[in-house]
Symmetry: C2
Amino acid sequence: MTKIVTAAVLVIGDEILSGRTKDRNIGYIAEYLANIGVELREARVVPDVEAEIVAALDALRARYAYVFTTGGIGPTHDDITADAVAKAFGVAIDEDPRIIAMMRRRYGEPGELTPARRRMARIPAGAELIENPVSWAPGFRIGNVIVMAGVPSVMQAMLDAAAKRLETGVKLRVETIEAGAIPEGRYGDALGEIAAAHGETMIGSYPSYADGTFKNQIVVRGRDGEKVAAARRAIEAMLDKIRGAAKAR
Amino acid sequence: MTKIVTAAVLVIGDEILSGRTKDRNIGYIAEYLANIGVELREARVVPDVEAEIVAALDALRARYAYVFTTGGIGPTHDDITADAVAKAFGVAIDEDPRIIAMMRRRYGEPGELTPARRRMARIPAGAELIENPVSWAPGFRIGNVIVMAGVPSVMQAMLDAAAKRLETGVKLRVETIEAGAIPEGRYGDALGEIAAAHGETMIGSYPSYADGTFKNQIVVRGRDGEKVAAARRAIEAMLDKIRGAAKAR
């Protein structure tokens, strides 16, 4: 039996929606999860508005095995993710003594343990901490929601830590076939027939455009390696036929 | 009176969720819209699954002035965006004679006007075409939904074309203040007070991390230039005070 484990990403932050910061976390998490056998099914970006965060969390956590959030867990007034998560789960939020203890070691000087820094110790009741080897302030997990920083290097370290405790499913087998300069419009019909005949695989065609020409790749994904290989062979044979016909003209 | 025009982005494509392709369109559209006075309020990424696309379209188009979609309008079987949009709007979809005429000029040779290519002529009834100077096949707009290609250079050209017919609102004034190496935890409390006192501006604090240290920027946004400037002055004075105190020690 093949186990399927699904996930969503929720990016929290005005700076992404204003265009100030270009998100790099969705793509990183997508690739990371694919490699460990978790299927990313949806991603959303919402602003630093509690009601928006709560609504998105509730929609996503009910639907997917895991929800990974990024952003909004720092020490400033616009960092409201922890409070929004507590609200979504209907649990209390307070300073976590484990984090306060970490802070006392780190901010020993008088005046260093500011109220702003203490904000970072606010964690929903019942959450497990996710360690942060980059900049110490931890993320956390509550239920199926994994709350991480927005800064990519910090998020990546937290994802490594969180991944140790994730259930994972079967890893999708992925095969990429170069169609090169053959236009999609020339192989689209045949590819559609192959996709219909190989229903247990997912087949996509992806153009990229540079220097005035398109180059195309066809990607086959599936849970069963033999079925993916069979689809790949059918696609390669189809492309060979098109290449042969082009040469013969 | 200040007019506010809102928008959402809907990225359609398995390749983004699998991590194969890193989305660059959300960030581009976000910045583009901010520059013309349209506020991006939400973004979503969904797979090439009709029901998912329709559900996201319906949620977003009801809520925001515009919805910009990217991806899924090519000639292959996995390009299902036009059908999903027609379904969401409850209108028919058929080959558009304007596009078929373009195709006949372009694909004059026998056998070139393949059924796959004709897929790209399928447009929901009542849609306006959005020209595509890069690779000819048009996008379209129906109601408040603007449907664009996924390939960034093509999407960007379509966005230029679509933008000519957008209603726009007041452009947010944005000011960025360098906090540099002052830790967020040291200015977070004072910044929160400034944010509370300047309620008609949006103030965010954004760390970036490189080479083992954080650098911070504070961003003030707002519709009223004078209020943004006042918040900026308050933040600069606050940072100067912290810098002065640090020197005095």
